[in-house]
Amino acid sequence: MIDSSMVAQAVPDRDQELSVIAECAEVAIRHAQSLGADSAEVSASIHYGLDVNVRLGEVETLEHSRDRGMGISVYINDSKGHASSADLRAESIRTCVEKAIDIARFTQADKCNGLAPSERLCSHFPDLDLWHPQPLDAVATMERALACEAAGMDNPAIANSDGASASIGVGLSVYANSNGFTGRRDGTRYGQSCVLIAGENEAMQRDYWYDSRRAFADLEAAEHTGAEAARRTVMRLGARKISTCEVPVLFAPEVAKGIVGHLLAAISGGALYRNASFLKETAGQQLFADWMRMSERPFIRRGPSSTAFDAEGVATAERDIIQDGVLTGYVLGSYSACRLGLETTANAGGVHNLLVEPGRHSAQELVAQMGTGLLVTEVMGQGVSIVTGDYSRGAGGFWVENGEIQYPVDEVTIAGHLRDMFMSVEAVGNDVDERSNIQVGSMLLGKMTVAGS
């Protein structure tokens, strides 16, 4: 039995809570100015969540969360101080501002410090359709997690479960600065995942599947997530090592986004101004084959990272990052832009929905196109250097011959240099993973070194 008083927590009143957060931000900015700050900027947020984990048909954990917090940056004579607080009580806000001021009195002046240029601040706030609230209903969320796992366990080859989870999250936040900008964000998120195990003893394999959406109605059926987790887990049974070789590699969408992520890390302002990127001074250069296009789409309705303004209030815009295979520009916030003598690209805090233009072919057609090679569905470890571009990671997936999957593979590594890897992309599939900030289909690379037995 569930205590009925806790069954469903009502949805927070969005406008009222946003006003409370905005008021906290304003109080903090005023306090900073009264203590001598030339300028200040604040991010404040509140997040409500419900997370349920079930395993083998029983609820394991039920977590209620409510996180509040704020961070403030203050600038005094081009020196910067930052402080954060994990609650929004008046006293905590005051302490937080005072800590930031304290720090700014000791850090050194840097003329690039400060707020984003006022003329770049967002003034148009389109409805991006990110707010789809439902009560935080513990019983319904438990039932969803249970249904997800049960559908996976229905597969006779599944031996054990590491559990399924279902979650609801409601987030509200405000960014405000002393140039008079206040931007409000809202967003809901519904998710579910399932991790299953097939085989016994040394032959055990695990895999998972998940979905995550802004609106509950867009979430795939819990049963589908569980069944897909089971299908993927069973496919891995009997995985073996292959001999060391150089072959084409097809990255499934879930791992292809990692390759795009390394590109974004290498063209981000922080890596560039620190001289810590293998793509330093490459704007205007051909990085990919001439058909490649990657664009930032901040206004996708219900998009995972849709927003009208970045972490500094700068208006976001649609733009191509890779056009005809050429790098058109970098990923910059106002500080790194200043350091590089450029202008911000509204990417303080990262990119907002990066779409790799899909090709015409399905994943299966790309497997056929590859002929012989490795289909990679999992990568492991941190063996990627953005400084040098060297890439070496653990991998698992499937061996492909005659254009067809032959058997599962694990305990191998794939290695190359990211620049060569980018140039060797031969095709992108139409199987775009829409759950993620980086949206890309399967990606076929001409050749990588696979180390095995």
């Binding site: 050194q108 410090n113 470890g381 063996g383 180390a451």
Partner: protein
């Protein structure tokens, strides 16, 4: 009353007017029908960081976090809620939410307080106060100047220092009442060196549960700067790494990340209770080569991974996991220990009051063997000698693990020859442990910068090992 308990009550309970009887009231409220156990975890954390780049200390940050996490356990079920205000109404509201998990059944009881007060492994003082802000800024600039003076090829120097001061108090329905005041500091130096259009990075650092003064005593920080520059310069000369399966010799200290990934996670109680670990059901079996003894030890004074009591109030201990190749123990928190009818081992840890505790490592390392490190290298005809690593990851079910070398050399005819570029090494945990053919006599623990992530929760840990020879491990270079 112990000093830690007194400090924790002053800091966490007194401001909200709370005392022992209030804790008892909340625990009574939490123990609804069929709740077997529950606990209140009060925590206050302050954190600061200072960073230098391009010769300027251009950023500093401070963070404050405080609250209480309340957990109710019923069989294998856990209900959890937390509050960021430590006052009676918030405590009662969170405990109502947490206990909603329980089904109908017998009423549990709250035990009388038993104070856990082991000898503290570190001093309770706020580590940030050991230096003034001016002294911190000056120190970073001094390190920058020193590092740049080491070699003209050094083009970029990044130095960061950070400190955390954390106070926790745990009150549990099983009667345990414990507190801990935990300092933690760290210092990192990262350099980028350039030569003929080639750029390489080197990084080193250290820290522990002490204050900043230990990092400046006898200019201890110079070691980190020297080491970061040395690594970057070695890598400027490195050739492509080999690809394929070969004999690998791992250096002492930080390469112990191998044990953390290949063995450590697989021996955490939760995975073994669920039967999802490659080591599940293998207690008492031979899982590693003769001479391999691996321990998890949370009791080492002032080490980064150490805790006087864990986040459930259990005193930490030295737990022998693998003894001379035989699996003898798992690492446990209270929940998994009870369900597996084993003893808690002081490994119940959580990132903060907003997270649930689970079995986690503290300082995990292999005990030394009898071989001289030189003898181990000269025994290898052709192989890889890896001395520094970036990090690793493991799939505990299949046992597959990776760890990425950031400094490695070829061994040819028993001699260390050329440096090779970073590469990921991959193996199967239980298999690799049986292929450890030589264990060095040079046990070293890491310098104190490790962070372990599990289920989205990060905690500080330590690793260590002597020089090891592993007969066959797959090296993920590009040279076939």
């Amino acid at each position: 009353m112990t000093e830690a308990l007194k400090l924790a009550e002053q800091q966490l309970l007194a401001p909200g007017g709370l005392g022992h009887t209030d804790l008892e009231k909340v625990l009574d409220h939490l123990m609804g029908p069929s709740v077997d156990a529950g606990d209140l975890y009060f925590q206050s954390t302050s954190h600061e960081s200072w960073a230098l780049e391009d010769g300027l200390v251009r950023s500093g940050a401070h963070a404050l976090e405080q609250g209480v996490g309340i957990r109710a356990i019923s069989g294998e079920k856990t209900g959890f809620a937390y509050a960021d205000e430590i006052i009676m109404p918030s405590l009662l509201q969170a405990s109502t939410a947490a206990r909603a998990i329980a089904r109908q059944g017998a009423q549990g009881t709250v035990q009388a307080w038993r104070r856990q007060s082991p000898q503290a492994l570190y001093l309770p003082a706020d580590p940030m106060q050991a230096l003034s802000a001016d002294e911190k800024v000056d120190l970073l600039r001094k390190i920058d100047a020193y590092t740049r003076s080491l070699d003209t090829r050094v083009k970029q120097v990044m130095v960061s220092m950070a400190a955390t001061h954390e106070t926790i108090l745990v009150a549990s329905t099983d009667g345990s009442l414990a507190a801990d005041v935990r300092p933690l500091v760290r210092l990192n130096v990262t350099v980028i060196a350039e030569q003929n259009d080639r750029r390489e990075q080197g990084s080193d650092g250290g820290g522990g549960r002490f204050d900043y003064l230990q990092l400046i005593q006898d200019n201890a920080w110079q070691r980190f700067a020297d080491e970061a520059v040395r690594q970057a310069l070695v890598n400027l000369e490195a050739d492509a790494a080999p690809a394929g399966t070969m004999t690998v010799v791992l250096g002492p200290g930080w390469p112990g990340v191998l044990l953390h990934e290949a063995v450590g996670h697989g021996l955490e109680g939760d995975f073994n209770r669920k039967g999802t670990s490659a080591f599940s059901g293998r207690m008492g079996e031979k899982v590693a080569a003769d001479g391999v003894t691996i321990v998890d030890d949370g009791t080492l004074a002032e080490r980064r991974g150490s805790l006087t009591v864990d986040d459930e109030g259990t005193p930490t201990e030295q737990t022998v996991l693998i003894e001379d190749g035989i699996l003898v123990s798992y690492m446990q928190d209270k929940l998994n220990a009870r369900l597996m009818k084993m003893k808690p081992t002081g490994n119940g840890r959580r990132e903060s009051f907003t997270h649930l505790p689970m079995p986690r490592m503290t300082n995990t390392f292999m005990l030394p063997g009898e071989h001289d490190p030189g003898e181990i290298i000269s025994s290898v005809e052709k192989g890889l000698y890896a001395v520094n690593f970036a990090g690793g990851q493991v799939d505990i079910t299949s046992g597959k693990f990776v760890f990425s070398a950031s400094e490695a050399y070829l061994i040819e005819n028993g001699k260390v020859t050329r440096p090779v570029r970073g590469a990921t090494l991959i193996g199967n945990g239980p298999e690799v442990m049986t292929r450890v053919s030589m264990v060095g006599n040079d046990l070293k623990l890491d310098a104190g910068v490790g962070v372990c992530g599990k289920d989205g929760q990060s905690v500080p840990v330590g690793v260590g090992q002597p020089t090891l020879r592993i007969n066959s491990l797959t090296v993920g270079g590009t040279q076939t």
